[in-house]
């Protein structure tokens, strides 16, 4: 007979998310088994279930839905609602590697290290090339997709500070995709600090600008699902935003500030690139699952 063992002291948290992850990021459900993609009724239900999952969220970060107009389809026709619904499966989930959160401004002690748009684009292009995806066109205008600008609004209610995201009533910004492989019909967009607001990242009307790169990437992916992708399979990546601690006390004697800055931010930049590499690797896996590679 076996003996009763001692209780388990500790058990690692499993590396797969709780169900609530779906309400936080409904794009999780946008990838579907390949046997479903040809069945219009199933695709319609998948879109509906993703919408319902998102509707159950009590998180304000997703903000109001951003209307977008479907781009022209490759054969020149206009993409109808049903086509947009079918296109929902063409946008990859947001592959969460890195929190993508940080802030800059007067009271920020650990400034985030942003990857520049050009640096990140080149990095993504090189990673995709390893998988055989040849990004031949950069900064390709998809003017039919228009992203509404958003604002992080603060209110004090009963002495408590509340924030919410509101859309701003100014002209929406037409989307420009960072890279497109026309032969394989694959496109990507990277949410960087530079185009954060243009891609729907909420502006803060204060001396501190808060960044939620991952949430903004989710917002952009939703716009693409609603608006359609013209038959392209699309990956949306985001700056993982890794912070560096720079007090100045560890600056070497006579070390120029620029050198000091580069030295102190190098580990964070390397970590951010590693996280971005994982986002791209997951996207490539997703493309393989979709039968696109």
């Amino acid at each position: 007979m076996v003996e009763a063992p001692e209780p388990i002291d500790s058990y690692p948290s499993p590396a797969y998310p709780l169900r609530s992850a779906v309400s936080e990021d409904p794009s999780l459900l946008s990838s579907v088994p390949s046997t479903w993609t040809h069945v219009r009724e199933i695709m319609g239900l998948v879109s509906l279930s993703a919408v319902l999952a998102s509707g159950c969220s009590d998180k304000p970060a997703a903000g109001p839905s951003t209307p977008a107009v479907a781009p022209a389809t490759p054969d020149g026709g206009s993409a109808a609602d049903s086509a947009a619904s079918a296109d929902a499966s063409m946008v990859a989930p947001i592959f969460a590697h890195g929190e993508g959160r940080g802030a800059i401004g007067c009271i920020v002690m650990s400034p985030p290290v942003f990857l520049s748009e050009d640096e990140a684009m080149q990095f993504v292009i090189e990673e995709l090339a390893i998988a055989g995806i040849d990004i031949t066109r950069k900064n390709v205008a998809w003017p039919e997709i228009r992203i509404k600008r958003r604002l992080l609004e603060w209110n004090v209610v009963d002495g408590d500070l509340h924030d919410r995201i509101v859309e701003v009533d100014v002209d929406p910004v037409p989307l420009s995709m960072d890279g497109v492989d026309e032969q394989r019909k694959v496109a990507f967009e990277f949410v960087s600090e530079r185009d954060y607001r243009d891609l729907g990242g909420p502006s803060c009307m204060s001396s501190v600008q808060d960044y939620d790169m991952r949430g903004t990437a989710s917002n952009l992916a939703r716009c693409l699902r609603e608006g359609g992708t013209g038959g392209h399979r699309v990956g949306v990546f985001y700056d993982p935003v890794v912070s560096a601690v720079m007090s100045g006390a560890d600056r070497l004697p006579d070390e120029p500030w620029k050198t000091y800055h580069q030295r102190m931010t190098a580990p964070a930049r390397a970590e951010a690139k590693d996280l971005l590499r994982r986002q791209v690797a997951d996207f490539v896996d997703w493309l393989r699952q979709q039968g696109a590679l």
């Binding site: 063992p5 209780p7 388990i8 500790s10 590396a15 169900r19 199933i42 239900l45 279930s49 989930p93």
Partner: protein
Amino acid sequence: MHLTLHLTTACSMACTYCYAPPRPGHRMSEAVGRAAVDFGARLNPVNCGIIFFGGEPLLEKPLIRQLVAYARSLQERGLSIFHFKVTTNGLALDEEFLEFAAEENIVIAVSIDGVREAHDAHRVLGDGSPTFDVVQKKLRMLLDARPYSSVFMVVNPDTVRYFSQSVEFLLDLGCRYMIVSLNYAAEWTEDDLRLLEKEYSRLGRQYVKWTEAGRKFYLSPFEVKISSHIKGEDYRRDRCELGARQFSVDTAGYVYPCIQFPAAGPESRFCIGSVFDGVDEDRLRSLHDEAEAPKDPCRDCAIRDRCNHTCACLNWQTTGTITRVSPVLCRHERIITPIADGVAETLYGKRNALFIHKHYNDAYPLLSLLQDTIA
């Protein structure tokens, strides 16, 4: 809350591990059955699930027909909506009953322990003769008519070496819903448990392979453990809770908080009332609180919220009390939890779409059915 009606204590098999060995002579009368259905409708005025159980319930086919008809008559009067399920050893399944079950939408579950070597080791007739051939034939007939029927499989120490082979056999046979339980009351040795771990590991690899190949199935030990993490707090509300989700009714109409307790009899403290007089709420609450109280040494265990140690029925069967947990159950939970997590981590890490929809999308059963229907 659903009701399990023990229609008879007689059985056409004499499985060696049965926790309620057949006792001919005790069968539920139609009057008791009707009172049980009334009791169910009072308990569940909106939605009432009734499970026909035994002994072997298909020895009482006429009674099943009578009680289904009676329940439907209550339903027509707006008293509740009834759903039925029957758990059978399969021997008495025939075309006529399948037709009736299809008309009344009765779910049928068959007990089969896998490949011949595993099944015939324990699931035998009274004279010890094997039943694999006939049960397999009946199961094929059932799956042809009702492809979503489930199977119950028991794993014993002397059959554990066939575990993964048996699951694969059932899956290849067309079974999609496989409910697996260890015979926790058996005498498991360290060698048996090492073999169990090896078999679970093999099944874990198969689970990944099958899912990646797009095969759809439900294999309870894995699904339950994965769900215990994914559902978080909700899982703790879903798992076994004595007298909270089902009552069992014995052949005489006495009510018990779960399926093993009718064996204790109406004089025992586990009898909480009858279908004629209702439930003694104080007694039920007392049993419930006793079963739910934190248990030593489980209270300090890191996986207590994902473990099945709250199953009072199983505790009573294996240790004689509802508060003490079987060491075999404890060892089982330690084996399956990390293996199931490894499977889920692998499939989630690969963003496997089938896995994600199966576990994260509430609409998955509907989507899956739609795919099968259209395909």
